[in-house]
Point group: C2
Chain length 212, copies 2
């Protein structure tokens, strides 16, 4: 059966995104220095061959265990779920061939027809809440897994629902000071995790937690 | 020259202490379940031979790299700095031979004579702020290092002052949901850290950061 998983980058002080990183300031990465901050958190991913090929259409890059992890994350995903903010940011940033190649369920109050992109990505706009989005994602994913993509509030909702089975964090040695925290408003009754695997690189510590 | 370092346990969601863990509830670990929560975060330390011998006067325990790390942390420390809350909790919990064997500087508004314990620990009560406490600790530590022991607010003050050179975190796979966060109110201009070392065990991931 499909697993529900989260795979995100995080600052050492627990932020998924620095203050100022929002749709209003998308064209202005100097605003509160959000562009440089986010870049420093995600520097590890920009070096990977798989990421460069798929998102930047750039040659070269590292091909070690972190690259394998990235490829695995993409290949195991049969559906993704994301929030409205993350979608709107991606709408402005993703290449035309959006980098999912699966159905993507967007939690939003907006009513909108499915948006079909070349390359197999279709965005579905879900108006009736996270449980419904998960049900639809499960039906679509088949044997593959369901990725809770973000943002922070969406990850928190699924954590609190107790459905997240695997939590993968790329912990970067940077301090943001402020921004959107990953762990906030998380229900105390979340089923416990155990450490499954740690992949140590100079740019980030890749922590993988699974259900205890 | 002496290094200023922090070595603490942290929950995966970023708390140094669960909600309810305070001097008022010290005799009541069932209050908001703080005792079990804290125990689950620190389970790794209770297993170590060095900790058992020094604090629990109990035999046995693990003697691997985590134990070596604990011993090294203790042996490198020539002075410690802590907050009033941490001191008051320790006053009720430490054995008569308090486990420091060095001068300890307590940040407090209370005026009090130095408190000499058997075994080489003397507590000095510092009323004129963290910079003064650090100066006194530096003078006392000699060639050895200065440990910022906690709690969270004291670590935050020294982080924000930009004087913390090494940050060691035992990150346990537990979620508290609420409590006292390590990273809060930290000034944005903190000098950057890099990952120095990661020690991976099933109970906690020991992350060591040093100045970049």
């Amino acid at each position: 059966m499909s697993k529900v998983f989260v795979n995100i980058g995080l600052s050492l002080d627990g932020y998924m995104a620095p203050e100022g990183m929002s749709i209003e300031n998308w064209e202005n990465p100097e605003f509160k220095n959000w562009g440089a901050k986010w870049g420093s958190m995600m520097s590890w991913i920009l070096k990977q061959q798989y990421f460069r090929e798929k998102l930047m259409f750039a040659p070269g890059g590292e091909t070690g265990p972190v690259n394998d992890m990235l490829r695995n994350t993409m290949e195991r995903s049969g559906a993704s779920i994301m929030g409205k903010r993350m979608f709107e940011q991606g709408e402005q940033s993703w290449p035309e061939e959006a980098p999912f190649h699966t159905p993507v369920y967007v939690l939003t109050h907006e009513k909108r027809e499915p948006w079909v992109r070349p390359g197999g990505t279709t965005f579905y706009f879900v108006n009736d809440g996270p449980a419904s989005a998960l049900e639809q994602a499960r039906a679509a994913a088949g044997d593959r897994d369901i990725r809770i993509s973000g943002g922070a509030d969406v990850v928190q909702q699924y954590l609190s629902m107790g459905v997240v089975e695997e939590l993968e964090i790329g912990l970067a040695p940077v301090l943001f000071g402020s921004g959107r925290r990953l762990f906030e408003n998380v229900d105390e009754s979340v089923p416990p995790f155990r450490i499954d695997k740690v992949l140590h690189t100079p740019d980030a510590t890749h922590l993988r937690y699974v259900r205890a």
